[in-house]
Amino acid sequence: MNGPIVIVSKYHRLGEGFSKKEIAKSFEHPGRRTNPHGYQSPASWISDLVALKKLIILCSICRQHFNPRKNGYRRAYIPDSSGKTSGFEVNGKCAGCKQETADVGGGTGFTPEETYNLLYVDPVQARRDARATWKAQSVWSVIQRARQSKGERK
């Protein structure tokens, strides 16, 4: 026999005093439905995200099943100046298995190709710009660099 249910407020008064971190947690979207009455398969959920051109985060296992090119997506690249990651890692809740990607070998963010440049640095373009800057240097600095590298080869 169960006893009476006693509700005790977490803070002084019911409904008040929630910290901002708790509020932020309450706004987190649970992802695809997995209960028996509203089950949605990972493929169906990811198809929905693709149709809405959403960011898709997948763990190291689930990303093997997603073809970004076929869906007009590409990997999100965010420079990591610390050098700890390649810059292609984005963690979060996996859209496929709903696990935290940090616990499943690290995550990858896939973003729609057509809006990539609104949000991310293009590593290829960044390299081109760096090379163009190098080429635009004065003749004197180029000679100095050439002499320096020649000295290193010796």
């Binding site: 971190k21 963690n91 979060g92 963010g109 973003t111």
Partner: protein, 232 residues
Amino acid sequence: MKIVNTLYGGTHYAKQYKIGATFVTRGIIAINGTAGVIPSTTVDFADSYGVTADTGTYSTTQGDAEGLVSIYNRPDAIFEALMSGGAAANTALTTLTNTVASAAGTVISDTDVGTASMANGVVWSLSGANGGGPGGQSRVITTFSASVSITVTVPFLSDIAVGDTFLMCPWSSNGAAGNGTLQATTLFDQANAAIVSGTGGEVAIYDMVLDGTTNSKVRFLVIDHMLGQNTV
């Protein structure tokens, strides 16, 4: 706005949040709302969640899918916004063409400096003896005289001749009031560089890419963050 780095390095982190208003534009700051996260205003980034990675439609109609938006939510994330010369996105910055020679290298005179005070902002050389584009010299603006001139305390290396061109913005990495605020453009995805220095939403200016009229950028951190230490 682009996400370009983090202060402490490592993996980036994004989460999907329920929305309380429609997000039309990608790459904007999301803040706390009643029913979920909502887009920031142009001048209020309080209780921020970070910058959005996609868009979302808010609906109160039964049967519609619940609106959600993905947000890069690391409090130490560094974002980059294109400088716009007005409230509308992609407005070119106003080019200042010096009309009175300054042998001391401290005063740039042009009626185009306008009326919005840029004191504590930065002025950088676009052409002339002080260089141009990304290699041009820059100085913090210390005195602003509306529709007349701007003055710097640390002189430019070379004289400022008549016809030399410059650009200016209301931010600086170390100015007294120029490094703590930023105002977004109308669709919230760029930075309005035509506002009075020291006005707008709370941010920390981290860096600037001082280039031409349409490709200069400002990098910043959102300070009033839901996961930041000042909101515990």
